[in-house]
């Protein structure tokens, strides 16, 4: 139990750190909300090494801590919409979809962007924002594949090590 709490704490810290690192890289300017989703790496790994419930805890801790450190209540609500939707779909994809970590990660990336654009459309009360959706689908796909690749490689290297603990 103690080990698990420590490991989950590490995952949360990793997620928060990745979120911070990402905020330092201004990669995509073209569409608001386009980003790498590096923090999702920690969530995907938690989902695979532990359980959906633990992944939810890591996700919530990450969003709240990052939100209070670098954002505000507004950005927390925004992240929650994308973060919870994507985690929900990743759990479903992993449990029932028959996907590998690549498919799970892509499902997470894409649904994260869909969730965020919906909240954005509601917040600014402008449905035309939906015009960003094709860009966000593509970016979710690419970043999802990238995170999938990273998760796959890390699971190969960390999997055995974690089992011995």
């Amino acid at each position: 139990m103690g080990k698990k709490v420590a490991l989950l704490g590490m995952c949360s810290a990793g997620a928060i750190l990745l979120g911070y690192v990402e905020s330092l890289i201004p990669v995509f300017f073209f569409v608001p909300g386009m980003k790498l989703g590096l923090a999702n790496l920690a969530v995907v790994l938690t989902l695979y090494f532990f359980s959906p419930r633990d992944a939810l805890i890591v996700q919530l801790v990450r969003i709240v801590v990052v939100g209070f450190l670098f954002g505000n209540l507004f950005s927390i609500a925004f992240s929650l919409a994308g973060g919870l939707l994507s985690l929900g779909f990743m759990c479903l994809a992993k449990r029932y979809g028959g996907f590998t970590v690549y498919g799970v990660s892509v499902a997470g990336g894409v649904t994260h962007n869909i969730g965020q654009i919906c909240v954005a459309a509601v917040l600014v009360e402008n449905v035309r924002i939906i015009y960003y959706l094709p860009f966000l689908l593509l970016s979710g796909l690419v970043t999802g594949l990238l995170i999938g690749l990273l998760s796959h490689e890390m699971m190969k290297r960390l999997g055995g090590y974690l089992k011995t603990m």
Binding site: P26, F29, F30, V31, P32, F74, F78, G97, G98, F99, T100, Y102, G103, V106, A107, V110, A120, L123, V124, E125, N126, R128, I129, Y131, Y132, L133, P134, F135, L137, L138, G140, L141, L145, G148
Partner: protein, 142 residues
């Protein structure tokens, strides 16, 4: 990566491409930019007139050469300021923290049939290297 992963990737690609195709059929050179704050229209401005619009004290929008962009915003992320200039129908710049949106509108003739392209320009548009791309696009849209 298994076959289901690949199927998902293809599915998302198709959805995105369909979205892009839909966008192409809807976009033409816009005539006006609508500025909205909190979903309420703040003002509608002609793209033909070069001007600078202060939106409250939080954003400044600039219109020049038929395109609009956000010149300044007081928010920390500056996403809207870095957004590319917009000039085509339905293109949007969003400043989420301030809930400000710039949206390009087609102007008064929105929803009306395209202007009829004269025979001369029609012929030109099919000659490689001649005719404006816009006239070719407007015929392709019909």
């Amino acid at each position: 990566m298994n076959r289901r992963d690949a199927a998902l990737v293809v599915l998302v690609l198709i959805a995105a491409l369909a979205g892009f195709a839909l966008m192409l059929t809807q976009t033409g050179q816009g005539a006006q930019v609508e500025i909205a704050v909190n979903g309420e229209v703040y003002g509608i401005y002609d793209l033909d007139t070069d001007q600078t619009i202060e939106i409250g004290e939080k954003n400044i929008c600039r219109i020049e050469n038929g395109a609009a962009w956000m010149e300044w915003a007081d928010c920390p992320d500056q996403l809207c300021v870095h957004h590319s200039k917009i000039s085509r129908n339905n293109e949007t710049v969003v400043c989420l923290p301030n809930r400000v949106t710039l949206t390009i509108l087609g102007g008064e003739d929105e929803g009306q049939p395209d202007t009829i392209v004269s025979d001369a320009s029609l012929e030109n548009s099919f000659l490689p290297g001649y005719g404006e791309t816009t006239s070719f696009l407007s015929t392709a849209n019909k």
